[in-house]
Symmetry: C2
Subunit: 207 residues, 2 copies
DNA sequence: GGTAGAATACCTACTGGACGGTATGCGGCC
DNA sequence: GGCCGCATACCGTCCAGTAGGTATTCTACC
């Protein structure tokens, strides 16, 4: 047990360092040397836990699927939950190295296409689920194609994040997220539902 | 003159091959060997025209700025022009290897940050210019923040394109573009202007 | 319009270094 | 004492870039 704890600690250190390096350099440009140096770990230790660079990258990508699956609705209103999810994701991108690294690896399509498609699909599914609940609640425009809207929102969030990163190092990410909702919501929800929504970021603690 | 023609041909062949390989593999994973092999050119020829891998990548990125600057308005209506620009860009992504490679290099932020920021800024500026003309024409919602909307649209198009590529190899890109406009336009333009717009792709040849 | 010579355009062979991965050994906890 | 967890030294490969030679085409002059 005690030694398992130590092993887990080094494993986590490697994962974290890998996420950081993948985030900064991308998969191909990242070197194992930099990862193990930053983790304060030797090559033997790293390759004991991960058999290859690719396996390590896959483990980092997994970390972000984990983040999404821990997300719990924050409101009775599905659309409000979706908005909150966007802001939560923005803050994860700012604070959580694992999410950052994972997103970079997902965006850089390359050797491993399947996990990336899964990531997009996962986000699209969550979005779609919320939108379908919103439609049942009568919040959405009647003719709206829910699947199409979910695809657009997922893609738009991806792109917003990317352009924010390139232009300002993600400093204006939260503002851009607000801009996105401001622009998109009128095409999504009916006016009476729009009035009940908080487009700006909500501080947690209220229902 | 005749020798310039030959040199220009090989230079173009190298640029094209480079764009393809960068598009398929990304900057770091792309190898000069594959580029010169695909171009049917030897190493000496390549390094005569481009002094380094980075210079070659920058030349590919330039090609896309060139594409954007050759774009000419297609309609009296600025918003309709913006929609058409989106579709034109989608088809360029499907057909023009230079645009494809350039976009991949722009999305993969890495060693050269400045040209990428310039690319985003260029798109954002064009979009913003069209939106400002639309506002002067009274087409937009009165309170709309034009700069913010331009940023969102640029980012959204980027993301749409990315997710379409990962999920379907860009097969559904045009449809996703239509979904984007359907969702965004109600938050952008006033109803009376919306009625005059063609959200679906227009075949060229009519005013 | 033919030729000398000088750029221009390109070819081949090579190099130094870095990188992912491995083999083997060793200490400490059960 | 045995295995888990790690450390170290090493290997084969591949890659960006270069050195130096060769072919091709333009210019100049006759």
């Amino acid at each position: 047990m005690a030694r398992q704890a130590r092993a887990l600690a080094t494993r986590q250190a490697v994962l974290l360092a890998a996420a950081e390096v993948f985030d900064e350099r991308g998969y191909a440009a990242a070197t194992m040397s930099e990862i193990l140096e930053r983790a304060g770990v030797t090559k033997g230790a790293l390759y004991f836990h991960f058999r290859s660079k690719e396996e390590l990258a896959l483990a980092v990508i997994e970390g972000q699927g984990a983040w999404l699956s821990t997300w719990r609705p924050t409101s009775e209103s599905p659309v409000q939950t979706l908005i909150d999810l966007g802001y939560a994701f923005a803050h994860a991108l700012l604070d959580d190295p694992m999410v950052r690294g994972s997103i970079r690896l997902t965006i850089e399509h390359g050797s491993f296409t399947q996990p990336q498609a899964d990531t997009y699909q996962g986000w699209s599914d969550v979005t779609r689920g919320l939108l379908e609940r919103a439609r049942e609640a009568g919040d959405l425009h009647p003719g709206l194609d829910v699947a199409a809207a979910a695809g657009v929102i997922t893609g738009a969030v991806t792109g917003i994040q990317l352009s924010s990163q390139v232009l300002t190092g993600r400093q204006d990410l939260v503002r851009r997220m607000a801009d996105l909702w401001t622009l998109i919501l009128p095409g999504l929800v009916q006016p009476h539902a729009l009035a009940r929504l908080s487009v700006a970021e909500r501080v947690p603690g209220r229902s």
